[in-house]
Protein backbone atom coordinates (compact mmCIF):
# COMPACT_ATOMS: atom_id res chain seq x y z
CA UNK A 1 0.00 0.00 0.00
CA UNK A 2 2.69 2.41 1.04
CA UNK A 3 4.71 1.43 -1.97
CA UNK A 4 1.79 2.05 -4.26
CA UNK A 5 1.38 5.46 -2.70
CA UNK A 6 5.05 6.34 -3.09
CA UNK A 7 5.52 5.08 -6.60
CA UNK A 8 2.25 5.54 -8.41
CA UNK A 9 0.01 7.91 -6.56
CA UNK A 10 2.29 10.57 -5.20
CA UNK A 11 4.14 11.62 -8.35
CA UNK A 12 0.89 11.84 -10.29
CA UNK A 13 -1.62 12.77 -7.62
CA UNK A 14 -2.77 15.94 -9.36
CA UNK A 15 -3.23 14.08 -12.59
CA UNK A 16 -5.36 11.44 -10.90
CA UNK A 17 -7.58 14.06 -9.35
CA UNK A 18 -7.92 15.85 -12.65
CA UNK A 19 -9.18 12.67 -14.25
CA UNK A 20 -11.64 12.13 -11.39
CA UNK A 21 -12.97 15.70 -11.59
CA UNK A 22 -13.25 15.49 -15.32
CA UNK A 23 -15.22 12.28 -15.10
CA UNK A 24 -17.54 13.80 -12.50
CA UNK A 25 -18.16 16.65 -14.92
CA UNK A 26 -18.67 14.36 -17.90
CA UNK A 27 -21.06 12.17 -15.95
CA UNK A 28 -23.10 15.19 -14.90
CA UNK A 29 -23.16 16.44 -18.49
CA UNK A 30 -24.61 13.19 -19.76
CA UNK A 31 -26.70 11.84 -16.91
CA UNK A 32 -28.11 14.87 -15.10
CA UNK A 33 -31.61 15.83 -15.98
CA UNK A 34 -31.63 19.46 -14.92
CA UNK A 35 -30.10 21.90 -17.38
CA UNK A 36 -28.43 24.04 -14.69
CA UNK A 37 -26.87 20.91 -13.23
CA UNK A 38 -25.55 20.06 -16.67
CA UNK A 39 -23.95 23.47 -16.82
CA UNK A 40 -22.33 23.01 -13.42
CA UNK A 41 -21.01 19.71 -14.76
CA UNK A 42 -19.67 21.48 -17.82
CA UNK A 43 -17.84 24.03 -15.68
CA UNK A 44 -16.33 21.29 -13.53
CA UNK A 45 -15.21 19.56 -16.72
CA UNK A 46 -13.47 22.71 -17.87
CA UNK A 47 -11.79 23.42 -14.54
CA UNK A 48 -10.47 19.86 -14.55
CA UNK A 49 -8.63 20.64 -17.77
CA UNK A 50 -7.29 23.83 -16.24
CA UNK A 51 -6.07 21.78 -13.28
CA UNK A 52 -4.24 19.51 -15.70
CA UNK A 53 -2.54 22.40 -17.45
CA UNK A 54 -1.53 24.23 -14.29
CA UNK A 55 -0.12 20.99 -12.89
CA UNK A 56 2.14 20.81 -15.93
CA UNK A 57 3.86 24.04 -15.03
CA UNK A 58 4.58 23.22 -11.40
CA UNK A 59 8.19 22.80 -10.33
CA UNK A 60 9.32 21.51 -6.97
CA UNK A 61 10.39 24.36 -4.66
CA UNK A 62 9.84 26.98 -7.32
CA UNK A 63 8.50 30.47 -6.78
CA UNK A 64 5.79 32.38 -8.62
CA UNK A 65 6.60 33.56 -12.15
CA UNK A 66 7.14 37.20 -11.22
CA UNK A 67 10.69 38.47 -11.29
CA UNK A 68 12.20 40.65 -8.64
CA UNK A 69 14.10 42.93 -10.99
CA UNK A 70 15.24 45.43 -8.42
CA UNK A 71 16.48 42.80 -6.03
CA UNK A 72 14.14 43.97 -3.31
CA UNK A 73 14.06 40.64 -1.52
CA UNK A 74 17.83 40.41 -1.47
CA UNK A 75 18.07 44.01 -0.46
CA UNK A 76 15.77 43.47 2.47
CA UNK A 77 17.64 40.36 3.51
CA UNK A 78 20.92 42.22 3.34
CA UNK A 79 19.47 45.12 5.27
CA UNK A 80 18.32 42.80 8.01
CA UNK A 81 21.84 41.56 8.33
CA UNK A 82 23.06 45.13 8.61
CA UNK A 83 25.07 45.06 5.40
CA UNK A 84 23.24 47.84 3.63
CA UNK A 85 25.84 48.68 1.04
CA UNK A 86 26.18 45.12 -0.10
CA UNK A 87 22.43 44.91 -0.73
CA UNK A 88 22.57 48.00 -2.88
CA UNK A 89 25.47 46.60 -4.78
CA UNK A 90 23.50 43.48 -5.44
CA UNK A 91 20.54 45.49 -6.64
CA UNK A 92 22.65 47.49 -9.06
CA UNK A 93 24.23 44.42 -10.49
CA UNK A 94 20.89 42.72 -10.89
CA UNK A 95 19.04 45.10 -13.18
CA UNK A 96 18.84 43.69 -16.65
CA UNK A 97 22.08 41.74 -16.30
CA UNK A 98 21.48 38.56 -14.39
CA UNK A 99 18.93 36.19 -15.80
CA UNK A 100 17.07 34.00 -13.33
CA UNK A 101 17.59 30.27 -13.05
CA UNK A 102 14.66 28.67 -14.87
CA UNK A 103 14.38 25.87 -12.31
CA UNK A 104 13.51 28.27 -9.50
CA UNK A 105 10.43 29.70 -11.17
CA UNK A 106 7.11 28.16 -12.16
CA UNK A 107 6.52 27.77 -15.87
CA UNK A 108 4.51 30.81 -17.02
CA UNK A 109 3.25 29.41 -20.31
CA UNK A 110 0.49 27.11 -18.96
CA UNK A 111 -0.73 29.98 -16.78
CA UNK A 112 -1.12 32.19 -19.82
CA UNK A 113 -2.96 29.50 -21.73
CA UNK A 114 -5.28 28.89 -18.83
CA UNK A 115 -6.18 32.53 -18.40
CA UNK A 116 -7.57 32.28 -21.91
CA UNK A 117 -9.34 29.02 -21.13
CA UNK A 118 -11.00 30.47 -18.00
CA UNK A 119 -12.30 33.39 -20.04
CA UNK A 120 -13.64 31.05 -22.69
CA UNK A 121 -15.29 29.02 -19.94
CA UNK A 122 -17.17 31.93 -18.44
CA UNK A 123 -18.21 33.14 -21.90
CA UNK A 124 -19.65 29.73 -22.73
CA UNK A 125 -21.38 29.58 -19.37
CA UNK A 126 -23.04 32.93 -20.00
CA UNK A 127 -24.33 31.91 -23.42
CA UNK A 128 -25.56 28.56 -22.11
CA UNK A 129 -27.37 30.23 -19.20
CA UNK A 130 -29.10 32.63 -21.56
CA UNK A 131 -30.26 29.71 -23.70
CA UNK A 132 -31.47 27.98 -20.53
CA UNK A 133 -33.54 31.05 -19.68
CA UNK A 134 -35.02 30.98 -23.15
CA UNK A 135 -35.88 27.29 -22.75
CA UNK A 136 -37.57 28.06 -19.45
CA UNK A 137 -39.59 30.81 -21.08
CA UNK A 138 -40.68 28.49 -23.89
CA UNK A 139 -41.39 25.35 -21.91
CA UNK A 140 -41.75 26.48 -18.29
CA UNK A 141 -39.32 23.84 -17.14
CA UNK A 142 -35.64 23.12 -16.89
CA UNK A 143 -35.92 19.34 -16.66
CA UNK A 144 -34.80 17.67 -19.84
CA UNK A 145 -37.30 14.79 -19.73
CA UNK A 146 -40.25 17.15 -19.19
CA UNK A 147 -39.14 19.31 -22.11
CA UNK A 148 -38.73 16.30 -24.36
CA UNK A 149 -42.20 15.14 -23.36
CA UNK A 150 -43.67 18.51 -24.30
CA UNK A 151 -41.84 18.43 -27.63
CA UNK A 152 -42.92 14.86 -28.38
CA UNK A 153 -46.45 15.34 -27.11
CA UNK A 154 -47.05 17.68 -30.00
CA UNK A 155 -48.57 20.36 -27.78
CA UNK A 156 -46.34 22.79 -29.59
CA UNK A 157 -48.06 26.09 -30.07
CA UNK A 158 -46.11 29.28 -30.26
Amino acid sequence: MAEFFEQTLQPHFNFWIYVILMMIGLWALIAKNNLIKKLIGMSIFQTAIILFYVSLGVKEDATIPILDPYGQAEHAAAEAEGAETEGEKKRDSYIGKKSPDPDTMANPLPHVLMLTAIVVGVATLGVALSIAQMIFKEFGSLEEDEILEIVKGGSVDD
Binding site: Q10, F13, N14, I17, I20, L21, I24, G25, A28, K32, N33, N34, I36, K37, L39, I40, G41, S43, I44, T47, I50, L51, V54, S55, G57, V58, K59, E60, D61, A62, T63, I64, P65, I66, A106, P110, H111, M114, L115, I118, V119, G121, V122, L125, G126, L129, A132, Q133, F136, S141, L142, E143
Partner: protein, 81 residues
Amino acid sequence: MIFAFDIIILVFLVIAAIISLSVKDLLSASMIFGIYGFLICLLWAEMGAVDVAFTEAAVGAGISAVLMVATVFNTKRKSSD
Protein backbone atom coordinates in the same frame (compact mmCIF):
# COMPACT_ATOMS: atom_id res chain seq x y z
CA MET B 1 4.08 23.88 -3.35
CA ILE B 2 3.27 21.95 -0.20
CA PHE B 3 2.21 18.42 -0.87
CA ALA B 4 -0.03 17.97 2.18
CA PHE B 5 -1.87 21.19 1.43
CA ASP B 6 -2.23 20.08 -2.16
CA ILE B 7 -3.85 16.79 -1.18
CA ILE B 8 -6.25 18.41 1.28
CA ILE B 9 -7.51 20.94 -1.26
CA LEU B 10 -7.83 18.35 -3.98
CA VAL B 11 -9.93 16.10 -1.75
CA PHE B 12 -12.13 19.04 -0.78
CA LEU B 13 -12.50 19.88 -4.45
CA VAL B 14 -13.86 16.46 -5.28
CA ILE B 15 -16.24 16.68 -2.32
CA ALA B 16 -17.46 20.13 -3.35
CA ALA B 17 -17.99 18.98 -6.93
CA ILE B 18 -20.03 15.98 -5.84
CA ILE B 19 -22.14 17.98 -3.37
CA SER B 20 -22.90 20.77 -5.83
CA LEU B 21 -24.08 18.17 -8.30
CA SER B 22 -26.20 16.23 -5.83
CA VAL B 23 -28.00 19.05 -4.00
CA LYS B 24 -31.60 19.37 -5.13
CA ASP B 25 -31.91 23.08 -4.45
CA LEU B 26 -30.38 24.89 -7.40
CA LEU B 27 -29.60 28.01 -5.37
CA SER B 28 -27.51 25.93 -2.97
CA ALA B 29 -25.92 24.18 -5.90
CA SER B 30 -24.85 27.52 -7.36
CA MET B 31 -23.47 28.66 -4.02
CA ILE B 32 -21.53 25.43 -3.57
CA PHE B 33 -20.28 25.88 -7.07
CA GLY B 34 -18.95 29.24 -5.93
CA ILE B 35 -17.20 27.45 -3.07
CA TYR B 36 -15.76 25.04 -5.59
CA GLY B 37 -14.42 27.99 -7.54
CA PHE B 38 -12.86 29.44 -4.42
CA LEU B 39 -11.20 26.13 -3.52
CA ILE B 40 -9.77 25.81 -6.98
CA CYS B 41 -8.50 29.37 -6.71
CA LEU B 42 -6.69 28.37 -3.50
CA LEU B 43 -5.22 25.44 -5.36
CA TRP B 44 -3.85 27.63 -8.12
CA ALA B 45 -2.30 29.98 -5.59
CA GLU B 46 -0.72 27.04 -3.84
CA MET B 47 0.72 25.74 -7.12
CA GLY B 48 2.32 29.11 -7.89
CA ALA B 49 -0.10 30.20 -10.58
CA VAL B 50 -0.99 33.52 -8.99
CA ASP B 51 -2.45 35.15 -12.08
CA VAL B 52 -4.67 32.17 -12.75
CA ALA B 53 -5.71 32.21 -9.09
CA PHE B 54 -6.62 35.87 -9.32
CA THR B 55 -8.69 35.31 -12.42
CA GLU B 56 -10.38 32.28 -10.95
CA ALA B 57 -11.22 34.21 -7.79
CA ALA B 58 -12.80 36.97 -9.85
CA VAL B 59 -14.50 34.73 -12.38
CA GLY B 60 -15.10 31.30 -10.89
CA ALA B 61 -16.02 32.32 -7.38
CA GLY B 62 -17.49 35.67 -8.40
CA ILE B 63 -19.05 36.19 -11.79
CA SER B 64 -19.92 32.57 -12.64
CA ALA B 65 -21.75 32.06 -9.37
CA VAL B 66 -23.57 35.38 -9.71
CA LEU B 67 -24.67 34.57 -13.25
CA MET B 68 -25.90 31.18 -12.13
CA VAL B 69 -27.79 32.66 -9.19
CA ALA B 70 -29.35 35.23 -11.52
CA THR B 71 -30.59 32.47 -13.80
CA VAL B 72 -31.89 30.39 -10.90
CA PHE B 73 -33.85 33.40 -9.60
CA ASN B 74 -35.37 33.91 -13.02
CA THR B 75 -36.28 30.29 -13.54
CA LYS B 76 -36.84 27.61 -10.96
CA ARG B 77 -35.16 26.72 -7.70
CA LYS B 78 -36.13 23.10 -7.40
CA SER B 79 -34.58 20.38 -9.45
CA SER B 80 -35.39 16.71 -9.71
CA ASP B 81 -31.83 15.52 -9.33
